[in-house]
């Protein structure tokens, strides 16, 4: 487990786990992964792959940012995922302005109201 979890270590761990999943399914493990690569659209990860990834990262890093801190529905790219773990492990690190669970709940409530008003 990382004690303080430097940003670089976190990124390396997250990217390493993603590479392992891609390699498991025969995708080109050596292909470059950009921070803005979309987990689903570009890399083909399913929601179960993401759950598998989160369970592995919880074991490796000792935290689950998606229990309370961050809404998993906001995670679309590798950077989003790395940011979530940075928020959990390095509390003073950069935090995305719309990444909190409370913000996600507010957006969901707005969507629900729009549907109700139709």
């Amino acid at each position: 487990m990382l004690e303080a979890g430097t940003s670089h270590q976190i990124e390396a761990t997250v990217v390493g786990k993603i590479r392992a999943i891609l390699a498991e399914r025969g995708a080109a493990a050596a292909a470059p992964l950009a921070g803005d690569s979309k987990l689903s659209a570009h890399l083909g990860l399913t929601s179960l792959d993401l759950a598998f990834l989160v369970s592995q990262l919880e074991f490796e890093l000792g935290v689950d940012p998606f229990a309370k801190l961050v809404a998993i529905t906001d995670v679309r790219t590798i950077d989003d995922l790395v940011d979530a773990y940075r928020q959990a492990l390095v509390p003073n690190s950069h935090k995305k302005p719309d990444g909190s669970l409370a913000d996600a709940q507010k957006r969901a409530e707005k969507r629900r109201l729009r549907i109700d008003q139709r």
Binding site: T46, L48, A51, F52, V54, S55, Q56, E58, A67
Partner: protein, 245 residues
């Protein structure tokens, strides 16, 4: 990893009744067994003395997600993983719904449904990491047939069966099986309060003419959790002497 250590079974509500029967059975078959319950029974005390290396018990509020997650992680750290989860803990509440107190409704939903979802989430994460596992949910014939006076209880057990089917689809790709056992009436604390007349009526309505023995239910749970059932997932198996047929 799984072949190098004894298999690990988590059984909720393992301090008495069917749960205790299952704990004893899996320990007899050389599994490591972990259980959680609100209070320690004499059965649990005896196992803690006798099976120190292979048995783990914790007093956990099964509705508290963080405590349950910690329990699952503790079990995985102690025994090396979680291969089997048996969602056995549950309470029976009786009474017609129109006059049932809200507290009783909340209690049965939280115990029979919310707590099951929370424990299943925690254990399934460990199973995902392993790439294998099997989950057996203890449902009820009341999830299959309507009976007066058990609407709230039936609602929770039917919900478990919905969870069983959806979760089987969710987790199948990672080699995790999910099934339910729907017992009919069997000798346990849960039916200790019913009268002899009620027992006789149940027996008359049952094609096999009697209530189940607790080990007959445990046999089927054990089967579904075992490799013998390696291609069965998303199913409910009624163990009811034919009462729902």
């Amino acid at each position: 990893m799984a072949s190098e250590r004894p298999k690990v079974a988590v059984i909720s509500g393992g301090s008495r009744g069917l749960g205790a029967q299952l704990v004893a059975r899996f320990l007899d078959r050389k599994y490591s067994v972990a259980t959680l319950s609100r209070s320690k029974s004499e059965f649990v005390n005896e196992l803690l003395r006798r099976e120190e290396a292979n048995f783990y018990w914790a007093s956990v509020d099964a509705r508290a997600a963080e405590s349950v997650q910690k329990f699952a992680n503790d079990v995985a750290a102690r025994f090396g993983g979680i291969d089997i989860l048996i969602n056995n803990a549950g309470i029976a509440v009786e009474g017609v719904l129109p006059t049932m107190r809200w507290e009783r409704i909340n209690e049965v939903v939280e115990t029979n449904l919310t707590a099951v979802l929370v424990l299943t989430q925690a254990c399934s994460r460990v199973m995902l990491r392993q790439g294998s596992g099997t989950i057996v949910n203890i449902s009820s014939v009341n999830a299959i047939r309507g009976h007066s006076g058990v609407a709230a209880y039936s609602a929770t057990k039917s919900a478990l069966e919905g969870m069983t089917r959806s979760l089987a689809r969710e987790l199948g790709a990672r080699n995790i099986r999910v099934n339910s056992v729907a017992p009919g009436y069997f000798e346990s604390d849960m039916i200790a309060s019913i009268s002899d007349e009620q027992r006789q009526r149940i027996a008359r309505r049952t094609p096999l003419g009697r209530l189940a023995r607790i080990e007959e239910v445990a046999n089927v749970v054990h089967f579904l959790a075992s490799e013998e059932a390696s291609f069965i997932t998303g199913q409910t198996l009624a163990v009811d002497g034919g009462i729902t047929c």
